[in-house]
């Protein structure tokens, strides 16, 4: 096996899935209150909300793609398919990070 995706115990992934989950839960409530259910709209073009949402996107992408990876690990047994899906996850992550960035950074301009 030239390349294995099972090269670590997964303990750090386990811990960071929990840390990111806690942060996302807190940020999500603020996001929903400020953007979707708020009484008065906030200025999403302000530096605070830009940083807030860029951070939110990074945490979300990590949590979502690590979650997908946990599912892939359980159901996909063929090594080359797993490795391919691992690569695709990274491409999706980077692509959505760029999408989020180019949407949020020039927001309000």
């Amino acid at each position: 096996m030239a390349f294995s995706t099972a090269n670590s115990s997964g303990a750090s992934g386990w811990l960071f899935q929990r840390i990111s989950g806690i942060l996302i839960a807190v940020i999500l409530v603020i996001h929903l209150g400020a953007v979707h259910f708020g009484a008065s709209p906030v200025d999403l073009g302000s530096p605070f909300w830009k940083f807030f949402h860029v951070g939110f996107v990074i945490l979300l992408l990590y949590h979502i793609l690590n979650g997908f990876w946990l599912i892939i690990e359980d159901y996909v047994k063929t090594n080359w398919v797993r490795v391919s899906l691992y690569g695709i996850s990274w491409i999706v992550g980077v692509a959505f990070l760029i999408l989020g960035f180019v949407t949020l950074v020039p927001f309000g301009t």
Partner: protein, 107 residues
């Protein structure tokens, strides 16, 4: 996969399904916002899907489940929740249901 239909395993399986669904929703949310910012008319269909009331109701249900069970998992992993995880599950579900009904009145 071998599934055992007990509280913990079922909670875990629903956690997985709701997580995958909410994950896809949020990726589409990012894509739709990008489409709005750069006036991509082709992405308007995604936006319409995401703001569809039935979709929003399902999203809220899934999101609240995932959050409530996630908090339960934290209590099990970092507290002593393993001793009472079944009871804890139903307590979290009741709290989640209250939050769900409250948010329904706001949409």
């Amino acid at each position: 996969m071998l599934y055992r239909w007990q509280t913990g395993a079922t909670a875990w399986l629903i956690h997985r399904i709701t997580g995958a669904a909410v994950g896809i929703y949020l990726l589409l949310h990012i894509l739709a916002q990008f489409g709005m910012k750069y006036d991509q008319k082709g992405l308007a269909a995604i936006s319409n899907f995401l703001t569809n009331k039935a979709v929003v109701v399902v999203l809220l249900a899934f999101l609240i489940y995932h959050t409530m069970n996630g908090i339960r998992e934290l209590i099990i992993d970092f507290g002593n929740g393993a001793l009472y995880h079944k009871k804890l599950y139903w307590v979290m579900m009741v709290i989640g249901l209250v939050i769900f009904v409250t948010t329904l009145t706001a949409i």
